[in-house]
Symmetry: C3
Subunit: 467 residues, 3 copies
């Protein structure tokens, strides 16, 4: 077989030999460190059930919209990927689609992770191709059947110390409770409070969600009651180990409304009669309220703004959300977050982590904000920017203003449980590579670089997420 995907110590290391030696030295400091994953989308049921993983294409293709989107863009239909419920595809046929399009993933983040997983988890030592598609498929199937390849065993093998999931405010968190009770994995699996659907009056389910929230908590239907209800659920999450809340918004707009205005907009929102400006104002006030609650209860706030979801309506109508056509838009932080930061930016213990898919904000807005406000932490490169070159651009853009200690630490943000070690390993290699350049350029001493490398996988995420 031509080519090789064998992982070497040199992967993602700097081209320059002298710099590479420093990078490899730094990487050795962190290669075996436990994984702290304070934000992600793994389903906790996976760990509770601890069932064997299904076939290779279910595991590595069908549920990874990073992978399916590029195959779709390359001309492979959703049906051929097994995504059309009405026309099921043979799993091995789906796998062959990936193999014959493998060159299209060269240079992509998804391609790098898949290559890493094939090599490190399944000992596939050749590059995937049409020629070896079946052979690789068979090999993966064999490994999936091994008892040591169940989710819990992998959790421990991956050395995961903390894994945060993302959960609906009304989730009873029984899965998390059982997981903790059974002590089935060595690390902690903690929930994250994600109330988007409860905060955005433009969403189709807003009124229903508010009703359900008030029902579940027994709070009255006033704006104040609704705030209390949210606080109740946050308390429930806190008592189950949650350390953070997460907020996906189109823009990080915030507003501080009077009690009367908030009450009036809340009523209008429930009755579906707000115009788009009023909806925006209400959303902005709710993000502000979330910060206020974080000051009170200590939950770290993470904000993921700037993605226009479900860009292609026909695909959304046919296949639902998370099908590969969420597209970033330009995003503004400095003015949008000003009300929130004026009110809470220096409040003791308040933490807000700012993520971005618009990389222009790194040097212009996010690093300067994090270079002053003790509450602001710079989110690791997210989504489309969670890739080798983008990570180095990010480090270059933020470090000169904010240093290495105002960040979130690496965030894998993944649904793909198997990709977690590949992603964290990528981050460790890249941080080693970036630091090595600064050492080589006489900007950071080697002992300090070593300390930073270790802190980036340990003290830094623990600080940002209060772990």
């Amino acid at each position: 077989m031509s080519g090789t995907t064998e992982l070497t110590a040199a992967a993602l290391m700097p081209a320059d030999e002298a710099t590479r030696e420093i990078a490899e030295d730094l990487y050795r400091e962190v290669v075996d460190a436990p994984i702290i994953s304070p934000h992600g989308h793994v389903d906790p049921v996976l760990l509770l059930e601890d069932a064997a993983f299904p076939d290779p294409s279910s595991l590595l293709i069908r549920h990874d919209h990073y992978v399916t989107r590029l195959l779709f863009a390359s001309g492979v239909s959703f049906a051929d990927l097994g995504l059309d419920a009405a026309r099921p595809a043979e799993p091995r046929a789906v796998w062959r689609r990936l193999a014959e399009n493998w060159h299209r993933f060269a240079g992509t983040a998804s391609g790098y992770w898949l290559q890493h997983e094939l090599a490190s988890l399944f000992d596939v030592r050749s590059e995937l191709s049409e020629a070896n598609a079946d052979e690789v498929h068979d090999r993966i199937e064999r490994v999936l059947a091994e008892p040591g390849f169940r989710p819990r065993a992998l959790f421990d093998r991956f050395r995961i110390e903390v894994l945060a999931t993302t959960d609906d405010p009304l989730d009873d968190l029984a899965t998390h409770r059982e997981l903790t009770a059974t002590g089935s994995v060595a690390g902690r699996v903690i929930p994250t409070f994600r109330p988007d659907a409860y905060l955005d009056p433009a969403g189709a389910v807003f009124a229903d969600r508010v009703d359900a929230l008030l029902d579940a908590t027994g709070r009255p239907g006033s704006f104040d009651g609704y705030l209390r209800a949210l606080e109740d659920r946050r308390a429930h999450f806190l008592s189950h180990g949650a350390v953070s809340t997460d907020h996906g918004v189109l823009e990080p707009f915030t507003a501080d409304l009077s009690a009367d205005d908030a009450e009036r907009l809340f009523r209008g929102a429930r009755e579906g009669r707000l115009d788009s400006d009023e909806q925006r104002l209400f959303r902005g006030h709710m993000l502000f309220q979330m910060a206020r609650m974080s000051v009170d209860d200590g939950l770290v706030m993470t904000i993921h703004p700037g993605v226009s979801r479900n860009h292609h309506e026909p695909t959304f109508a046919a296949f639902g959300p998370d099908t590969g056509h969420d597209i970033p838009v330009r995003t503004e932080y400095t003015q949008n977050l000003r009300p929130l930061l004026n009110a809470f930016g220096t409040a003791p213990g308040f933490h807000v982590v700012l993520f971005a898919v618009d990389e222009t904000v790194y040097s212009r807005e996010v690093a300067p904000l994090a270079g002053f406000y003790p509450s602001v932490f710079i989110g690791a490169p997210w989504w489309f920017l969670d890739a080798p070159d983008a990570v180095l651009r990010f480090r270059s853009a933020v470090t000169e203003t904010a240093g290495f200690y105002r960040g979130s630490g690496f965030i894998d943000d993944t649904r793909a449980f198997l990709s977690i070690p590949a992603r964290h390993d990528m981050a460790r290699r890249l941080d080693s590579s970036f630091l090595a350049r600064l050492v080589r350029e006489g900007r950071v001493s080697l002992p300090t670089a070593r300390r930073i490398a270790r802190d980036l996988v340990d003290a830094v995420p623990r600080k940002a997420f209060k772990l």
Copy 2:
């Protein structure tokens, strides 16, 4: 003479020696590949007449607004450049202006191309300077007089396989027909349908152009007749080998109007009574209609947005357009193109190539769009971004999301016929350099990098432009 501009195998190759060796290896795969130029501005009459080129300054300075703009910015008047019809300048004096300002072009794309042309076409082995200005001028004059230096001979020597021109919808394309009929060059010279003046009611000539279009096609003066007239001319272009249409717009705004609204705006546009919002809406609807026609007739659509033309009104008034003061502006793609992509983004066979002069859109908008929509292709770095560092930034920004196969292939987009090989050679060196880094960093295997290098100058542009 001090300095040398001698081209070496190392030009534009990576600094790191180990990476450089890989890059040179990859470059050898493509150095002799034929040139595919699916979008540009060479006048086909040049090839039909096949006359000797005029003097060096006419050839290399006066008609290249990349060059004249920087000389003008450096304090050389348009008159001294021979651009003021009322005050003709001696060609040799113009050439001396370039020579004495040659250091100002160091590090620029124009400087690199000129240096490449001087070395490879005219065997000038020293750096241009005041001291050797006359000697170099004489040498170029001698070469220009050689029979082997006529346009057709160069066309074959450059190994051009396809050269697309850019043409007015009412062009009868006789020049292209004759060129094809005579078989005078080995490759194909094909037209491109460029209807800007017919689609923008804010343009001074809009009403005239619509009248002329309706006259020429005999279609009625309704909006429907006007659409039919445009379709007629596209069919004429198709029958002359055209593969694409080109659209220069300030923003890639698109809109899908009702038949009644379109009719009403069309009438208003012809009578010059639309306000700027209505003009925008009409332009957006016409871009939408162009996509609709592309779905029907198969012509690839290319969009070149984001340039504010003729920034300095006094220069425009005195010297006309294309005089060096077209300045980019921030551009939005995600929302602007949504109507078009919702309607046609997954239509079979539809291709739309998105160019940009705002490089912030590469990672944020264009790569994510091309990473999902099978119809969207990422245009090569354009205009101010068509330069070594900018090309590498482009590759870094788009590849991790969209890979190497969702692009247009290199586009020279030039009026300067002689610069075509220099530009394509630059692209090949840079792609080899970029790929070599990924190989060195363990991200792409060498065999796959070889395949990609070859595909980038062959399969990729053939796919995007249906060649």
Copy 3:
């Protein structure tokens, strides 16, 4: 002690050995060149009084809001930094705060400059740490007491040829006059006309400032009188050696109003009854008028746009401006500057230097503008962008369009007198590094690179600032 901050010839040099050798060669051309500092914020009284510097923390921490902001973000209170007048802090305790947080400055521009100053001025050869904080403090104190460490002696030792200060239009410039009269330093100390408070009707002091200006000049209270008054003060600055005016604005918006409109807005501005649109229009017209005056009197215009000042109102209320929470915003140049450039962009002798904290404008707007308009010069990377990686990104973004000769030369823009050599040295190393890469990549010849390196610290700033 572990670690070393000893400066070596390799600091900020390229990682690649072959490129590094070229860079070191180029750096040797400029390492000893005099410092030209045409824009900055050193207080001229410092030089006139020529007193010994106070303690280390006053000198290096308390008055440098680059340093205090990151300490504040790291959890050190303003009181602990000695910034709270009501609760003075012991200087040595402040110094210890820096030492214990020193790792947080790794990779930042401030950290690099401090390290450079500690090594080159105080011969501190170990990395600052909690362990050596007192020892380093003592050493600095000893040096500060030496007679050769007074401001004037350092001015000469730094080889400063020109140092521009920034001054209020009503400043009588007596300090500058005395400095010149005494001939106490070898170089020139010149004022800069900074009229922001006199041009922005949204500022709290606008009406007062206008009254004071009219009083001081004896001009009538009409708009015309006010313009004459500004011209009078510019003439005063010119007669004291000023070469430029400086303009800090949120956006570089310009407008050319009729005399009547200007008169009407001026009256409204003085009476505090303009709405925000009218205030913007008036500001835009005043920036336009400043350009008009520059055409007349020859003062170079510098524009520093794009920073939202005093983001955190509580900190501003308690500690005043320049306390670390000025945050950049997205900025537009192409359309905003069009009225100004249409009127004066090609006026003989007019110079306008465009600075930016939004690095997206470099390739998109600023370099294209400077690539055409002879009046437009590209400002050196400013504020958050005045750092090693950012400087290289800047060079990469502007050079391919505008070359090396359309820039301002390096601008230190600093209040911190002691940091001036560190900053200029940084710029020289980075320019050598950037040029070396172009040489290594076959894009610029070594002799031309040498010439450019020398011009960047000499001919280029002299040209831009008419020195």
